[in-house]
């Protein structure tokens, strides 16, 4: 008989494995857009009046302006502006040193490879997490030379005059509907000023990312290069936002990179050797344990840590539809092993490890935890609009006297203030409320804000179980109910999926395995009122015994499978491979081998505005590598003004997003100014990359070059939309436009919409456009040298993009090639 070795979950469970960052927002605006929201954003940021006025004017423009008539309305009309969160602020202040960046956010950035990048070559980095720039550092030499590189919000605070002079001058709020939207709601982005004659040798970089569902991101960037200076700015919109679960937490599996560390099923840390996405067509399994809220999906060949029921049954026969009885003794003595998911049956046991991490935080007293428990079930926070006071409020039923009394007592103990009690006789309710900023901060930091997104902080999750018991107790007093069957049962429901899973984890630490089941939302009637009920996650457990056949074995629970569903699936599946055996990690709490399928978050909107001012004789290069997930609308306005003899170059790479509409432009207003756009686009299934360039020649002897390269595949669509305008008196202008499109198959599409408005004499304008297909002969030639079909196609595609990649810093060129390779995988054969 094998030794009964308990599963040991590493002490560093959270740091090493829980790499989803719980959303600890200080402030999360409501969905939708209104004057109040815009004012609230401005107020939260303590902005000067002129900026608030600017925002409000922009909102009016946004409301008034129609969508662009020429746009791809089949996609654009799917944006629901009322469903979007317009502002999230993750931490209190911007961090200067990497060490000071909060752990959760750092973990997210780790996956982007930023720390290495920083150590190696970065001059400065700003990283945008949700809306705010949270990390930023600048090389000391540059600081001495007077280079300013700040988050836009910080820039406005520290250099209000400079910002006021240039902000909105290149792209007025009324420029188009999306620039108006950004002008009203902007948050984060970069502010850069390079003083006269300073040449910034190393690129300044920023990373942007959308992490929450229905989240809009509206960063605003302003770059000013003073006379004779030069600077290169790079923005990466890298990781996709599709969320899948590989553990207790939601994780963006596709953003896991080689060398990241995850926790394997033995509870030991293990480095990721490779992370892959592949196209999969076939059966996809949904494994539902008795807790259906912990169901997870995988492909049949992927092994899951389990104990087959057959091996632990008592000799008696199964009766009718009942499963054969299980011998607890046998079950606990059997070492779980990896079994292919396709071979799992109803009744087999899965392994659910219990987190063993304990890290006390004396700031979180028993009283605080009890109050947080009440907050979790009954509380909310808001800022009183007229009083401008932070409010924390708890709503109880009028009969819940002991709860009301305890809440008031706890508030007094924690804040020193007396809570107010407001009765609402109609609803038989009582509200307990208090004006307290510290309490509001405490609640937001550890519990989140809205019912649907409430989530506990890592600090709370790591506390000793004795302390967590207090939070659970008061939470269940509020949201839970107790009733008697053969045993006492406890039931609690929450609208937050993450919270449900966290509560399950906390209860596991108390020794109870709670099941999670989903009660689908929808229209409903309560007391004659029609309401739209949200999805509810319902937790069940019994404090007296384990549920059903669940057994505890060391630091794990053994949980029976209730159902194995099979369904055909076509689409990408993600897979990570670990460095060492066992090559397994956790999925929704259960140990599985590598591989799980994606769950798409709902659509998000990214609408940035970038303004560039190139003063005489300066040189600015702006590089973008955009790989938003395939459900992001990327509607960006980018424009530069180039004064005498200044050069502005836009390098623009678009791989991700559902719809991109982006036409970087240069207004050449000084003699001999130069503008260049090199843009590449890759459009796969369901994507439309509508990109191009605008060159406005408003001065003599100005020159411009546009090079656009696009690839469409699997029915993807690319468009080049360009404008070259030459004003009267702008003599001796030279402009050349070249668009090359490559079609990978018959389904895909590419269009060009070039516009030329020439009102001057003596100009040289060239325009050239080609559309080609990847030739069979090219593929045959490469295959005849031993390359696999897919390698051959990737090589041809990378060659096609070479004009762009050769201009990129090495790291980005490598990254772009890797992304192209990922996109090409599964496209052939």
């Amino acid at each position: 008989m094998s030794e009964n070795k308990p599963f040991e979950i590493n002490k560093n469970y959270e740091q090493e494995y829980g790499f989803h960052s719980p959303e600890q927002y200080v402030f999360k605006a409501k969905r939708g857009l209104s004057k109040e929201i815009v004012e609230e954003i401005s107020w939260m940021k303590s902005e000067p009046d002129w900026m608030r006025a600017f925002r409000l004017r922009a909102l009016e423009h946004f409301n008034r302006k129609p969508m662009p008539a020429w746009a791809d309305m089949s996609l654009l009309s799917q944006i629901h502006f009322d469903d979007i969160y317009y502002y999230l602020k993750p931490t209190e202040k911007q961090e200067k040193r990497w060490e000071d960046v909060p752990e959760e956010i750092k973990n997210t950035f780790d996956k982007l490879g930023i720390p290495e990048a920083e150590r190696k070559f970065l001059a400065g980095v700003t990283a945008q997490y949700e809306s705010e720039v949270v990390y930023h550092s600048l090389h000391k030499d540059l600081e001495k030379q007077g280079v300013i590189f700040l988050g836009m919000d910080d820039g406005l605070k520290k250099y209000p005059e400079l910002v006021k002079k240039y902000f909105g001058t290149v792209i007025p709020a009324a420029d188009n509907k999306f620039s108006a939207l950004n002008s009203a709601t902007w948050s984060g982005g970069s502010f850069i000023y390079v003083p006269k004659g300073v040449k910034v040798a190393i690129p300044l970089q920023a990373y942007f990312r959308i992490n929450a569902q229905n989240m809009g991101q509206f960063e605003r960037t302003l770059i000013i290069a003073d006379e004779g200076s030069s600077v290169h700015y790079i923005e990466g919109c890298l990781p996709a936002g599709e969320q899948v679960s590989t553990g207790q937490r939601w994780v963006n599996i596709e953003s896991i990179r080689p060398k990241d560390t995850v926790l394997n099923s033995d509870g030991e840390e293990s480095a990721v050797r490779s992370a892959r996405v592949r196209q999969y067509r076939g059966e996809l399994l949904t494994i539902k344990p008795i807790s259906s809220g912990n169901a997870f999906q995988l492909t049949p060949e992927h092994p899951v840590l389990a104990v087959p029921r057959e091996e632990v049954r008592v000799p008696r026969k199964a009766r009718k539809s009942w499963l054969g009885e299980v011998s607890t003794k046998k079950l606990l003595a059997t070492e779980p092993r990896f079994i292919e998911a396709g071979k799992l049956h109803r009744g087999d046991f899965l392994v659910f490890p219990i987190s063993q991490i304990v890290k006390d935080d004396p700031k979180l007293t028993v009283a605080a935890l009890r109050l947080l428990g009440y907050y979790l079930s009954e509380g909310s926070t808001f800022v009183h609009r007229t009083l401008r006071m932070p409010v924390v409020t708890f709503s109880f039923g009028s009969t819940e006297r002991p709860l009301i009394e305890e809440t008031k007592r706890l508030i007094k103990e924690i804040t020193g203030k007396r809570a107010m009690e407001v009765a609402d006789r109609k609803k038989h309710g009582v509200s307990v409320l208090v004006y307290s900023k510290p309490l509001m901060d405490l609640c937001l930091e550890h519990c989140g804000k809205w019912a649907g997104t409430k989530e506990l902080s890592k600090t709370v999750m790591d506390l000793p179980p004795e302390k967590q018991a207090h939070l659970l107790e008061t939470y269940l007093l509020g949201d839970g109910s107790r009733y008697q069957r053969t045993h006492t049962m406890v039931r609690a429901s929450t609208a937050s999926k993450n919270l449900a899973r966290q509560l399950q984890e906390l209860l596991a630490r108390q020794g109870h395995y709670a099941t999670i089941s989903l009660r689908k939302g929808g229209p409903d009637t309560i007391l004659g009122r029609k309401i739209n009920r949200k999805d509810q996650y319902i937790l069940y457990y019994s404090p007296e015994k384990q549920m059903g056949e669940v057994r505890r074995r060391g630091n794990t629970f053994l949980v029976p499978v209730k159902e194995v569903q099979r369904a055909p699936y076509e689409g990408p599946v993600f897979n990570i491979e670990l460095d060492h055996s066992p090559n397994a990690y956790l999925a929704r709490g259960f140990a599985v081998h590598n591989c799980t399928a994606p769950v798409y978050a709902s659509d998000s909107l990214h609408s940035a505005v970038v303004e560039i001012i190139a003063l005489p004789h300066s040189h600015i290069r702006y590089t973008t590598i955009q790989n938003w997930s395939k459900n992001v609308y990327n509607l960006v306005t980018k424009r530069a003004i180039a004064h005498e003899n200044a050069t502005v170059e836009w390098l623009d790479g678009n791989l991700g997003s559902k719809l991109t509409m982006k036409y970087p432009g240069v207004c050449l207003v000084g003699r001999k100014a130069r503008g260049e756009v090199v843009s590449v686009a890759f459009s796969g299934k369901g994507q439309h990359q509508d990109a191009g360039a605008k060159m406005i020649h408003a001065a003599p002897e100005t020159t411009s070059t546009i090079l656009s390269k696009s690839i469409s595949k699997d029915g993807g669509r690319t468009s080049y939309r360009g404008l070259v305008k030459v004003y009267p008196q702008a003599d001796h202008v030279k402009s050349s436009v070249r668009c090359d499109a490559l079609l990978m198959d018959e389904l895909s599409r590419s269009d060009t919409y070039p516009t030329m408005e020439i009102d001057a004499e003596q100009v040289q304008i060239g325009h050239e456009a080609t559309v080609s297909k990847v030739g069979d002969e090219q593929i045959f030639y490469l295959m005849s040298r031993g390359l696999k079909e897919q390698e051959a196609t990737t090589m041809i595609v990378n060659g096609f993009f070479e004009a762009f990649t050769k201009e990129l810093p090495l790291e980005y060129a490598v990254e772009l090639n890797r992304l192209v390779q990922l996109e090409m995988e599964g496209s052939v054969g």
Binding site: Q778, Y781, L782, M783, S784, L787, N798, E802
Partner: protein, 257 residues
């Protein structure tokens, strides 16, 4: 008897429904050079493409055995990795892909684990020097804007680096001036050895002045109508293909089995 390097048995090949090769049989042993001669449209390129597994060319009958193994169902890349090499008559260009990058990738594919990336530069440079190719070649895009001679030398360079066991040279001599022809022929002779079998496909006899074949075959209208020693080539040079054209229409029953 040892297994021949290449054995073609009664090979019939169709392109877009039209039969081009009508029953070819051929054996090439290790270390031998076989010349396959024929006029335009006789099916020379069809044979070389079929040997390399071009998906457009459909084998309807017969077999190709490479080292005794049937190549049917083996994809082009697998054939290449197994040591078959085709020097193209018209190598296609791959814009944006440098010669060095292309060759590094190809060598990695061919040799797998045995490929030493650190050694690549040295091997590559030495090979270019031996074939009299300028170093600047390495950074040019594959066949993009190459002259006829450069293209052919590039093919020979690949052959040298990929060390095939069976090389099919498809009209490598065509379109070359006399100096370029000599350089290419020298390259081929340089690569000849006991481990390499070569199928030299050509329209003209002149390359055979530099590369001495063990055997010569005449391909006309999809069939090998004569095989012989190197003297056969001279005979063809003197008389042309015309005397054989009489046999252009083989009896019907042979065509349809």
């Amino acid at each position: 008897m040892s297994v021949p390097l290449l054995e073609i048995k009664d090979l019939h090949v169709q392109v877009e429904g039209k039969e081009i090769l009508k029953g070819i049989s051929l054996r090439v042993e290790k270390g031998q050079v076989h010349a396959l001669m024929g006029p335009n449209g006789s099916g020379k390129s069809t044979l070389s493409n079929t040997l390399m597994g071009h998906p457009k060319y459909q084998v309807t009958q017969g077999q190709i055995l490479y080292r005794g193994e049937n190549l049917a169902g083996l994809k082009t890349d697998a054939r290449a990795r197994a040591g078959i090499f085709l020097a193209f008559q018209y190598p296609t260009s791959i814009p944006g892909v440098s010669v060095a990058n292309f060759l590094r990738t190809a060598m990695k594919a061919r040799f797998g684990e045995a490929f030493q990336p650190k050694e690549f530069r040295k091997t590559f440079k030495a090979a270019m020097a031996e074939l009299g190719i300028d170093e600047g070649f390495a950074t040019r895009y594959v066949n993009d804007g190459f002259s006829g001679g450069e293209k052919k030398r590039h093919e020979i360079l690949q052959m040298k680096l990929l060390k095939p066991e069976l090389a099919i040279l498809d009209e490598t001599d065509s379109g070359l001036d006399i100096d370029a022809l000599r350089t290419v022929a020298e390259g081929i002779n340089h690569l000849r050895g006991p481990e390499l079998g070569i199928l030299l496909i050509t329209h003209y006899q002149r390359i055979l002045n530099y590369v001495q074949p063990e055997a010569v075959h005449v391909l006309i209208n999809g069939q090998i109508i004569r095989s012989g020693g190197k003297d056969l080539a001279h005979e063809l040079e003197a008389k042309g293909y015309a005397p054989y054209e009489v046999l252009k229409e083989p009896p019907k029953e042979i065509v349809s089995k």
